[in-house]
Subunit: 221 residues, 2 copies
């Protein structure tokens, strides 16, 4: 049986979940509380983080490498375009969200508000939350600018770049940290991606201690 | 003219420099003091970081996306193997070094000792340096374990994984933070990679305020 070891609000896990679902690769989701340092999990994954995908008998870590592998082994439907120039733009944006957005926004909001409580590592730092709340505005404006020129973030087709962005934003939306009124463009884009069948499992996520807000799974948010 | 905007000791720039040199793509190196917030540079690159590659009239950021693009446009010599399984392993290791090693070692040693001084952002934090000095040992041991089973880090051919690892280690070697006596395997691997023509420009780097140590460019170190 294929398995994905994950935590529900991890954007890196969500990106992989979206790719798997879009490509109709069935996996069993197993929640992995990796911070508890269970040695069986560390054996599976010396990097000690999620996601870990067990697929065709192999254990795979690193979400970027996993998504490229899925694309090469299961090219339909494609989540990377055909030309090197467009593929570059997709990968640039995936890195933008998984590196820059992650560092400036996700770690400052989600990790402060949720991970610290769940992992019992302290209390939210208000300077970080302020900094994340400021930074997300610039990122939403950057997305607005991209979506002024394109149907999807990296061009005319939906790609991994959209999944990377939606993975971060959906996790932040779970804690009501996304101001959807800031940009009609971004809201329309998120409505489109949210209504895909691949998104259903993400909209059904529940995190103990953090009740799902009403708008989170509502397609008409 | 093709150009790479870079800083000499950035491992992400070095990974791209190695790929370009191995593929014999000529570029002019332009040092970019990105922390000084020059608006012309920010215009070229909203992510405000290096490397930025100007190639065939396009400006490209994000080292992972750049290396994949170079591989697709200039496949000879290959820095990714042919099979999806082996390609996965290369990308997994690139992420290992650019994410985990970077976070646990490079930011703790190089950024504390060099970047803080060059960018005038404070003094080295001794707790960070201690933590980096401890972590690099585990990483060298992990590399030893990989090289016990393989000629190169990801398998039987030299790949981007070797360049990612060598980019971090060479930057740390510039400040004498690599204990080459810890592992004969790792030392042999580094000697092989260091003697390649693609490595020459990296061995010639000089950073003002940080004189190059004698062993750094010595092939018999």
């Amino acid at each position: 049986m294929n398995r994905l070891y994950h935590v529900p609000l991890s954007p890196f896990c969500r990106k992989v979940r979206l790719s798997l679902a879009e490509k109709k690769i069935e996996v069993e989701l197993v929640e992995e509380r990796y911070w508890e340092g269970d040695s069986e999990f560390l054996r599976r994954n010396p990097a000690a983080k999620v996601p870990i995908l067990k697929l065709d008998g192999r254990l795979m870590s690193e979400s970027a490498a996993i998504c490229e592998y899925l694309e090469e082994k299961h090219p339909t439907p494609p989540l990377l375009p055909a030309s090197p120039e467009l593929r570059f733009e997709v990968r640039r944006l995936v890195s933008w969200f998984d590196d820059k957005f992650h560092h400036e926004v996700t770690t400052k909001l989600l990790y402060e508000r949720v991970n610290k409580k769940v992992q019992k590592t302290g209390y939210p730092d208000s300077a970080n939350i302020k900094s994340g709340a400021r930074a997300i505005k610039y990122h939403l404006d950057y997305m607005t600018w991209l979506l002024d020129q394109r149907r999807w973030l990296a061009g005319d087709q939906m790609t991994l770049a959209d999944f990377a962005a939606a993975a971060h934003l959906s996790s932040l939306d779970y804690i009501s940290d996304v101001d959807w009124n800031r940009s009609a463009n971004v809201k329309d884009w998120y409505a489109k991606i949210k209504s895909r069948p691949a998104f259903r499992s993400i909209l059904a996520d529940q995190v103990s201690g953090f009740p799902q807000p009403a708008h989170y799974s509502n397609l008409d948010f």
